[in-house]
């Protein structure tokens, strides 16, 4: 990555992204065989993108995140991340409606109203203290609720791990987000800035976990893939984060050698 010229990298990346999206759409019908955790038909391309992202993390994202984390006091960083989160709530309310999930709609609507007012424009999060904790959702989840399959595992430049369904979800979210639809375009740049700051803060806050996965794993690609898919399926309620659906696969007393 360091040896390539930046312009070449950008166009190559754009080309790869297009290729991945194109492949992803045609590959949407593939799904893992029973007993298999991952569906990764584009592993070769994914690995290349993973290595590029890793190079980008080493050269830019991690150093900038560490500088941001050290230079800006924690309460300020939390405030910035709160504002960024607050601005994602209208989109989550919309997705809650699309999913027919009343709890998501009410929780996130109240969170938005309370935090935008009493929380000083989202800087603070009084809603959480009132029991209205964060309930994240996105169009990827809406697609899941509508019955779309997970699709193929994808590594996306600048975005990281995803799946066909989640990447489609991201693209749709970008278009239907009520905040971007209803506010002038100039605010979008500010919103992007806030969300970048939030990402930097996350990278700083979870540095131990992220860096050990990326730089200390024997195979950082397969670890990233496994962590992402397990966590995403848990979020979507496909696994209980326990043994429910995987008990047959993961009982070491019945299957001691993990065959």
């Amino acid at each position: 990555m360091q040896t390539r010229k930046p312009t070449a990298t950008v166009s190559k990346r754009a080309a790869t992204l297009c290729a991945v999206i194109a492949l992803g759409i045609t590959g949407a019908c593939t799904s893992p065989k029973p007993g298999e955790m991952v569906n990764d038909p584009y592993e070769k391309t994914n690995r290349k993108i993973h290595n590029m992202s890793k190079g980008l993390d080493t050269a830019v994202v991690r150093p900038v995140s560490m500088a941001y984390g050290k230079a800006v006091p924690n309460p300020v960083r939390i405030g910035v991340s709160n504002v960024a989160d607050n601005l994602t709530l209208p989109s989550m309310v919309l997705n809650g409606i699309l999913q027919g999930d009343g709890e998501l709609v009410l929780n996130n609507s109240f969170r938005f109203v309370i935090n935008s007012t009493y929380g000083l424009g989202g800087l603070l999060d009084p809603a959480s203290k009132m029991g209205l904790t964060q309930m994240d959702t996105d169009f990827g989840e809406t697609l899941h609720v509508w019955g779309a399959k997970e699709g193929a595992y994808l590594e996306v430049p600048l975005m990281g791990p995803s799946t066909t369904r989640d990447l489609t979800g991201k693209a749709v979210d970008a278009v239907i987000n009520p905040v971007s639809v209803l506010t002038p375009l100039t605010y979008t740049a500010a919103r992007r800035g806030l969300s970048v700051a939030e990402k930097l803060d996350d990278r700083y806050r979870y540095d131990e976990t992220i860096s050990s996965t990326l730089y200390e794993s024997a195979d950082s690609y397969s670890q990233t893939r496994l962590l992402y898919l397990q966590n995403r399926r848990f979020e979507l309620g496909q696994s209980s984060g326990g043994s429910d659906d995987s008990s047959t696969l993961f009982d070491p007393y019945e299957d001691p050698y993990a065959e």
């Binding site: 955790m37 924690n74 939390i78 959480s128 904790t133 964060q134 806050r205 979870y206 131990e208 976990t209 050990s212 200390e216 794993s217 024997a218 195979d219 397969s222 670890q223 496994l226 962590l227 397990q230 966590n231 399926r233 848990f234 979020e235 696994s239 209980s240 984060g241 326990g242 043994s243 429910d244 995987s246 008990s247 993961f250 009982d251 070491p252 007393y253 299957d255 001691p256 050698y257 993990a258 065959e259």
Partner: protein, 200 residues
């Protein structure tokens, strides 16, 4: 508290026999027993988080907790996967020791992220031959997240043998990682053991 597990188990078994005799006659491990184990683990973990010790101190404490309350041989064997079947008893022994240190360093390091936080036991339920105990992790500045322990008595003692953090299965994740390490070393268990002693 666990110094005398036999009498504690006998007591629990007696109590559960009275309450559940018709329903669960063969089950030695009870929901109460599993919950009690995880309550103890959680209390010990919270103590480490609050201790304000150095990273090395926290890693050492975590290793003690891991050895005392989890079924290390079963976890290690599962992580090594099929290769464990071809390993000699001596290799399994040194692999298990090296694996324990690796897990302690790898996860003990993360305790720093938990400073100011705590774990709370939520619920327990029977799944097949074991119990699933759900806990919530409260960390300053983030929404509470799910940490689930699986507890079994098949080793002869009530011990946890797997953990899920927000859906991420520790056994599965470590099996994949150990498998990748083994592949990188051409399937040679001895060089895996040597490197594991430094890894994590």
């Amino acid at each position: 508290m666990l110094n005398n597990p036999l009498s504690r188990r006998a007591m629990l078994a007696g109590a559960s026999a009275l309450a559940f005799l018709p329903a669960l006659p063969a089950l030695a491990l009870t929901e109460a027993g599993a919950t009690k184990l995880i309550n103890t683990v959680v209390a010990e973990i919270n103590k480490v988080i609050d201790s304000g010790k150095s990273e090395a101190g926290m890693i050492k404490d975590f290793e003690t907790i891991f050895i005392r309350y989890s079924d290390v041989p079963t976890i290690a064997r599962y992580a090594l996967g099929v290769a464990a079947r071809d390993a000699s008893a001596a290799q399994m022994k040194s692999f298990t020791t090296a694996f324990t240190g690796y897990i302690a360093r790898k996860y003990g390091k993360r305790f720093r992220e938990f400073i100011g936080g705590r774990l709370e036991v939520q619920s327990a339920k029977a799944v097949k031959s074991f119990f699933e105990v759900k806990t919530l992790a409260y960390l300053p500045g983030s929404a509470p997240f799910d940490v689930t322990f699986l507890v079994s008595d098949k080793s002869g003692k009530d011990l946890f043998f797997n953990m899920f953090i927000e859906g991420v299965n520790l056994l599965l994740t470590e099996r994949e990682e150990i498998g990748a390490m083994l592949d990188k070393r051409g399937g040679k268990i001895d060089s895996l053991i040597a490197d594991l002693q430094k890894a994590g």
